[in-house]
Symmetry: C2
Subunit: 128 residues, 2 copies
């Protein structure tokens, strides 16, 4: 990993993408839109939320570039946009090596911890 990441050009976009992803309703909306475009009333259905509340979330997603919306007021379909998700995935991909190594070390540690347990004998026996 290079420290050039300190002045990343896509930095502002990543800020908005990650901020938009930091909410369970917005993530659920994206999950729904990955299946295909949808109007706001359909997006509001699974939530105990008013359409204006959902519209607010859609605005956050739209500003982050994660969705686009029809200008046509009649249906106003929302659809998922690929680029910000690709950029966020790319940013996290740099860390894959790190966490794969760390989790492998954790696995080894757990295996090591289990080994001596089998050999160990408790001083207290059941009969007493």
């Amino acid at each position: 990993m290079e420290l050039t990441g300190y002045q990343n050009l896509t930095s502002r976009r990543l800020d908005m993408t990650f901020a938009a992803l930091a909410d369970p309703t917005r993530r659920a909306i994206l999950a729904r839109l990955a299946l295909g475009e949808a109007p706001v009333n359909e997006l509001a259905t699974p939530f105990a939320m008013s359409q204006p509340a959902i519209s607010k979330h859609l605005k956050v997603l739209e500003r982050a570039g994660l969705i686009s919306r029809d200008r046509d007021a009649q249906r106003r379909l929302s659809r998922l946009e690929a680029k910000p998700l690709a950029e966020a995935t790319e940013w996290l991909a740099d860390y894959r090596k790190f966490w794969e190594r760390s989790l492998a070390r954790l696995d080894d540690l757990l295996v090591d911890l289990q080994k001596p347990k089998k050999k160990k004998r408790k001083h207290k026996s059941k009969k007493h």
Copy 2:
């Protein structure tokens, strides 16, 4: 993609992880810590920021579980933690198929757009 994601157990953790990642200083701190553990003064060096300002960012990262810190007040080393990054990567991985397909479609579209340009003739000629 399944709609079971609507009730995701790791949802609260993902909220905190993505919110913590929505800041360029915090992402830069994580990039530095991927190289190895570091004390707060070393983490503050590349930024035009006071140590208390950096400490605030470290607290956000620690609460999100993205870093852990020594309890020993002397050096107080920070280190990167693997699990939240792995979970965020996993969440985004569900969308890889979607954006790979979308970006491929965009590539096709761009190729298509370039083709007719060569053949197309403008009705208006330069001589008029």
